[in-house]
Structures are given as structure tokens and as C-alpha cells.
């Protein structure tokens, strides 16, 4: 059986089940899975598809470092993060963050903090290809969000 890595950048479709199995343990009463899914629009402008790229292998080591920090801060069990690269269609999963913890609060908190930090410092980029054929690399995602999306 193929070994599932805890942290991976891959051009293959993401599946949460192996990651849940990877982090589960008898003393972990909560497993939170966050899946980031490609949306069909940004701010009402229709999206055709997204294109992701990553600086490898640095991106994987940044994911591992962020997970270690979240684990220490929130006292979680182990954490797995996979991010996809290449062309992604609407509805496909771009990122999976799976956190095990003794109780749910720590697991939710760690997953949310990790997603924020990935958007701030993991060397991963997204190109938005609009339905009208134009395209642009997205930067400063946090600033780009409208307040209603927080």
C-alpha cells in the first residue's frame, strides 16, 4: 500500500479519507477536515477555472512548519495538509487540512489558523482564469476578501 505523506503538494485529485485515517488515534476525540473548494466566481465575476503552482519542495516544508506551530499552540494531535497544483475546475478541492485533537475546539481553531497562515506565507500561487478569457495571478488574498467573506 502506498504511504500517505503528512504534507504534500500534488497535481492529483485530493481525497480526505486517507488523511483522516492518517491522523486518527484512540485518544483523539475530534478530527476536523477543512476542504478548500474552487468557487465559480470571485466577487460576482464568473470564473472559468484556476491554475495553481508551488515552489517545491519549500512549500511542503512550510506546510510542515506551520502545522508544527499550530500543534504546539493548540495542543492538537497530528495534522496533515495536502495542496493541489495545476489546473483545477470549479468544484474541485484545492487544499485539505485535517487536524486531530482530543477535543473539537482545538481542532477547529488549529484548522482555521492554518488556512489563514497558508494564505499568508506558503509559496503557493493561484491564477484566476475568468469566464471572459482574461486571467490574473492572485496576490494579497487576505486584502482581496470583502468583509462579508470573513
Amino acid at each position: 500500500m502506498k504511504t500517505v505523506p503528512f504534507f504534500q503538494i500534488t497535481d492529483q485529485p485530493l481525497d480526505p479519507a486517507p488523511l483522516v485515517a492518517l491522523v486518527a488515534a484512540p485518544d483523539m476525540g475530534a478530527v476536523v477536515t477543512f476542504a478548500g473548494i474552487v468557487r465559480d466566481n470571485f466577487g460576482g465575476r464568473p470564473t472559468a477555472y484556476l491554475e495553481y503552482e508551488a515552489y517545491q519542495p519549500m512549500a511542503e516544508s512550510v506546510l510542515a512548519t506551520l502545522a508544527a506551530q499550530a500543534q504546539a499552540r493548540w495542543g492538537t494531535g497530528v495534522i496533515a495538509i495536502h495542496h493541489r497544483v495545476g489546473r483545477l475546475e470549479i468544484g474541485e478541492t484545492a487544499v485539505l487540512i485535517v487536524v486531530a485533537a482530543p477535543h473539537r475546539h482545538e481542532a477547529f481553531a488549529a484548522a482555521e489558523q492554518l488556512m489563514d497562515q497558508i494564505k499568508q506565507s506558503a509559496p503557493i500561487w493561484k491564477k484566476e482564469v475568468w469566464a471572459d478569457g482574461a486571467s490574473e495571478w492572485v496576490g494579497n488574498e487576505i486584502e482581496r476578501k470583502t468583509s462579508s467573506e470573513f
Binding site: 515552489y55 484545492a94 487544499v95 494564505k119 492572485v138 496576490g139 494579497n140
Partner: protein, 82 residues
């Protein structure tokens, strides 16, 4: 000494390449190298102050000193996640 610069996302579009070698004087820093890049590719100047820096795949600073054979990346604003 010689270093290799990796270009990603918008930087690759501007420079038209994924990587490039630069010959630098001893003692050169990440910041000094960035100035050379901006001089060569004027459209990179809009990224000044909005970058993360990596030397040999570890985060660095503008002051980080470079050495022969280093791999340097000027990381434009990142946008992981959906």
C-alpha cells in the same frame, strides 16, 4: 560568485523565464540582488516591499548575505487555498 534566481507566478510572466543566473560581487545581499532584478525588469518594481524572500528554500531577509551557488527566490504575494 554566481547565484540562481527562481521566478514564480507573475514574476515568471514578467521575466519570461523560470530561472536565471546572476553573477554577483562577494558580500552581495538579497536586497542588492533585488535591485539588480528591478533594473533589468522594470515591471518587477511594483513588487518591492510586498515580497517574501527565500535563500536555498528557507525564508530570508533583505539583509541576508548570499554565497556562491545559492538558490534565491523572490516570492510574490502568495494565494494558496481556494
Amino acid at each position: 560568485m554566481e547565484v540562481i534566481v527562481r521566478y514564480f507566478a507573475g514574476h515568471r510572466d514578467i521575466t519570461g523565464r523560470a530561472e536565471e543566473r546572476f553573477t554577483l560581487e562577494e558580500g552581495a545581499t538579497v536586497g542588492g540582488l533585488w535591485e539588480q532584478l528591478v533594473a533589468r525588469y522594470a515591471r518587477l518594481s511594483g513588487y518591492s516591499g510586498r515580497l517574501l524572500y527565500a535563500v536555498n528554500q528557507e525564508f530570508g531577509l533583505l539583509e541576508t548575505e548570499l554565497h556562491d551557488g545559492d538558490e534565491v527566490a523572490f516570492i510574490p504575494p502568495v494565494s494558496g487555498g481556494s
